[in-house]
């Protein structure tokens, strides 16, 4: 059995929904950020697979992946700064703790 595009799409959909499950069920801010990284990686896998299977002589998919990796790095740095600040204020990284904007 040849490995077709569908196999890779199913794999990346599985990874994406594992990420969605983690994002919905965890309470820890850092674990939620890790689930987001999983989802970004499954999107990257899709870009690379479509680039190879559908337009093998183009480079667009590879560049999308490259820029997604760059943006994920910037996003992780800023999110970590925010998480450290939340930890200083509330002494925990639980998503339910910061409620001061509700009052």
């Amino acid at each position: 059995m040849q490995i077709g595009l569908t196999h890779i799409l199913v794999l990346s959909a599985t990874l994406f929904f594992i990420g969605v499950y983690g994002f919905l069920t965890r309470k820890n801010l850092i674990s939620m950020l890790m689930s987001i990284e999983l989802m970004l990686n499954s999107a990257n896998l899709n870009f690379i697979a479509f680039n190879k299977y559908v337009w093998p002589n183009k480079l667009e998919g590879l560049f999308f992946t490259l820029f997604i990796i760059a943006i994920a790095a910037a996003e992780a740095a800023v999110a970590m700064a925010i998480i450290i600040q939340v930890y200083r204020q509330f002494k925990s990284v639980d998503v339910d703790e910061p409620t001061i904007m509700k009052e």
């Binding site: 490995i3 077709g4 595009l5 569908t6 196999h7 794999l11 959909a13 599985t14 990874l15 929904f17 594992i18 990420g19 969605v20 499950y21 983690g22 919905l24 069920t25 965890r26 309470k27 820890n28 850092i30 674990s31 950020l33 890790m34 689930s35 990284e37 999983l38 990257n44 896998l45 690379i48 697979a49 680039n51 190879k52 299977y53 559908v54 093998p56 002589n57 480079l59 590879l62 560049f63 992946t65 490259l66 820029f67 990796i69 760059a70 943006i71 994920a72 790095a73 910037a74 992780a76 740095a77 800023v78 970590m80 700064a81 925010i82 998480i83 450290i84 600040q85 990284v93 639980d94």
Partner: protein, 167 residues
């Protein structure tokens, strides 16, 4: 089965098992370590898909830099124990059911789509090598490249300003 297929199935199983372990394990340190294994498996997929440069960049940037940052922050906050509060069991069950239904819809859509059964077509094997990518990056993609450098500068300044002690 050829070697490529064995590698594909092995890497897929590794990626899915370690991704499940990321969302299931209670200790955040174990989550980070399983996430690193997932990134290794995904990098293997990139290399199988003829994107060698992206595979190595994925390893260096994700597994090397971002995950070390995560580990540092977890150690800094003393989160490396199993006392994370869990959401209630019914909510988790609802998450599994709704996520699983949406995934079934996705898989069914793939089954009947046009791309079904497309076989890998490689014009030449070196499309993902550094030379090709570098030439295209500094000719056609030079404006997005420069804009992403501005993004990095602002992210760096933002991280320092937000993370600074005091007000």
């Amino acid at each position: 089965m050829s070697a490529t297929q064995i590698l594909f199935w092995f890497l897929s199983a590794l990626a899915i098992v370690s991704a499940l372990s990321v969302v299931i394990s209670k200790n955040p340190v174990y989550s980070v370590l399983s996430l690193i294994i997932t990134f290794f498996a995904v990098s293997g997929h990139y290399i199988l898909l003829n994107a060698q440069f992206i595979g190595i960049v994925n390893l260096i940037v994700y597994a090397g830099a971002i995950m070390v940052l995560f580990l540092f922050v977890i150690m800094l906050m003393n989160l490396n124990q199993d006392n994370e509060p869990q959401k209630n069991k019914w909510l988790k069950m609802a998450g599994v059911v709704s996520g699983g239904c949406l995934m079934l819809v996705f898989v069914a859509a793939f089954k009947t789509s046009e791309v079904n059964g497309k076989i890998a077509q490689t014009i030449d094997g070196n499309i993902g090598l550094t030379e090709t990518l570098g030439k295209a990056l500094f000719n056609e993609y030079v404006v997005p490249f420069e804009i992403s450098s501005i993004l990095f500068l602002s992210a760096m300044v933002g991280a320092v300003v937000i993370g600074k002690k005091g007000d």
